[in-house]
């Protein structure tokens, strides 16, 4: 196929990989920070306090119903102005992904905690375990198992959603691709096909293993 040579041009592939690293970095940091936020949110959501419940409900529903791109815009353009946050595009992405990931993960944590049958708590009680022992030895290990497959899927979604960062001007893999397309637009007029094609597969290569891991975990832990 004519034009494919662009991929062999010196610098092209390394730069795309560098861009991909930015993508993965944003996703990685977001996922990493989402975990503590999600655990906290999940725990808050199991509380009976009506005020906390309502606040959490609004938080979760708002995050769920707004497109991620809209959230990014709100964070990038809105927050910076409203509260004078010096939030660059990357920071806005991380913030939004953490708020979003935290909400979704929180809901998963809540679901996992609530799905553990009452009899588990009761058995632990009857065996004399203290509330903390019950939580750490019995409830949490089970909750984590129920949580993990869906969390890995969530991570995949966060990686995919990092693609939106380009629309805020972050120089990640797509932007690098566009720069390359632009820089080579005279020699390789068909570069778009190849560069976007490669980016498509780069995302696939990053996300696919995650999907497989999620499915494996799901299968392995399906029985309990």
């Amino acid at each position: 196929m004519q034009g494919a040579e662009i991929l062999l041009q010196p610098g092209v592939f390394p730069r795309l990989l560098q861009g991909l690293w930015v993508t993965v970095w944003i996703a990685g940091v977001s996922v990493g920070l989402s975990v503590p936020v999600g655990l906290l949110v999940g725990w808050l959501m199991t509380l009976r306090n009506p005020l906390i419940r309502i606040l959490m409900r609004i938080y979760l529903d708002f995050i769920r119903i707004m497109p991620q791109l809209a959230l990014l815009f709100i964070a990038f353009y809105g927050f910076a102005q409203a509260w004078g946050w010096n939030l660059d595009a990357t920071g806005a992405c991380v913030l939004v992904f953490v708020l979003w990931g935290g909400a979704e993960l929180g809901d998963l944590v809540r679901g996992a905690l609530e799905s553990i049958p009452k009899s588990q708590y009761e058995s632990a009680y009857v065996l004399g375990l203290s509330p903390w022992q019950t939580f750490s030895r019995v409830i949490l290990p089970q909750a984590v198992r129920r949580l993990l497959p869906a969390s890995v899927n969530l991570a995949t979604r966060i990686v995919k959603t990092t693609s939106l960062a380009v629309l805020l001007g972050v120089v990640e893999v797509i932007k690098v691709g566009q720069q390359i397309i632009d820089a080579h637009r005279f020699e390789f007029p068909t570069a778009t096909l190849w560069i976007y094609g490669v980016i498509f597969f780069m995302y696939f290569i990053v996300c696919w293993p995650l999907s497989i891991v999620a499915r494996r975990l799901e299968k392995r832990w399906a029985h309990d």
């Binding site: 041009q9 010196p10 610098g11 092209v12 730069r15 560098q18 861009g19 690293w21 930015v22 970095w25 944003i26 940091v29 990038f76 353009y77 910076a80 102005q81 509260w83 004078g84 946050w85 010096n86 939030l87 660059d88 595009a89 990357t90 920071g91 991380v94 913030l95 629309l167 805020l168 001007g169 972050v170 120089v171 990640e172 932007k175 690098v176 566009q178 720069q179 390359i180 397309i181 632009d182 820089a183 080579h184 637009r185 005279f186 007029p189 778009t192």
Partner: protein, 274 residues
């Protein structure tokens, strides 16, 4: 420090720590810039030959050339942030950069939000269209689809003066050019220098309208009220004008593309004087 080396994400670390700091919107003083050793400049990364990333991943272009000189004179290194046309005002108001050098046309609306320094370039709008159906007159555009990049002068100009031209807007110049190449619109309009350069490189396309609207100037911009930096930039422009710096800039960056079809004096503004 743990961030990736590619570009902006390295700033994410700063962001995380600074995000609680509400005073951060205030522009940095000259001293602070010197102390940090970095001048943060917003440039285009996909608008050759004004601001683009070359094959080696380095920022290049007419705007960048100027930015390098400014940083040098300030005794710091430039640090580039890639911007979309539409984001140029916001990166300043939210103090994400110190300076915008991204082919920023001076308009009244913009002047209300940011402070422009003296101009270093002048442009009018140009319209490029395929050879097969060259658009030679703005009236021919009626009912046709005109491609533009978001946040450019072309957008405001056609939006207010020619409401019956259908505008098709892209975030990036690269996207816009591709759209024109793929025949998604009848023409593409942006600064005439830009379309001239592009048409020269792309066979089958002609700039049918070379001058449209008022002649506009292009100038660096700083955050509103940042007079310290503004004065420094103005002084620089005057000082550099004496050495015909921008003609040198032109030779280095624009001439290889424009060749001798364009008279440098149609574009370059020296010493901030039209």
């Amino acid at each position: 420090a743990c961030g990736p080396s590619a570009s902006t994400p390295s700033e994410a670390g700063d962001t995380a720590s600074a995000s609680g700091n509400t005073s951060a919107t205030k522009a940095r003083s000259l001293d602070e810039i010197k102390k940090s050793g970095e001048l943060k400049v917003a440039v285009f990364s996909d608008k050759a030959p004004f601001g683009y990333v070359d094959k080696d991943g380095k920022y290049q272009g007419y705007d960048v050339y100027f930015a390098e000189q400014l940083a040098k004179d300030l005794g710091v290194t430039p640090k580039y942030t890639s911007v979309d046309p539409a984001a140029r005002v916001d990166v300043l108001t939210s103090n994400k950069v110190d300076l915008v050098l991204a082919n920023f046309t001076v308009t009244d609306e913009r002047a209300q939000k940011v402070d422009f320094a003296k101009p270093y370039m002048k442009v009018a709008l140009g319209v490029v269209s395929p050879d097969s159906k060259v658009i030679k007159n703005v009236d021919e555009l009626k009912g046709k689809t005109l491609i533009i990049a978001k946040g450019t002068t072309a957008e405001t100009y056609f939006g207010t003066n020619y409401p019956d031209v259908k505008l098709q807007k892209y975030d990036q110049y690269a996207d816009a050019y591709n759209a024109l190449l793929d025949g998604r619109g009848d023409a593409f309009s942006t600064d005439n220098t830009e379309v001239l350069a592009w048409a020269k490189a792309n066979k089958g396309f002609t700039v049918g309208i070379t001058k449209l609207g008022d002649e506009d100037t292009i100038a660096p911009a700083v955050q509103k009220g940042n007079t310290e930096l503004l004065n420094f930039v103005n002084d620089e422009i005057v000082k550099l004008g004496k050495d015909k710096f921008f003609h040198k800039d032109y030779q280095q960056t624009l001439e290889p593309v424009y060749g001798d079809e364009v008279n440098p004096d149609d574009i370059v503004v020296e010493g901030g004087e039209l």
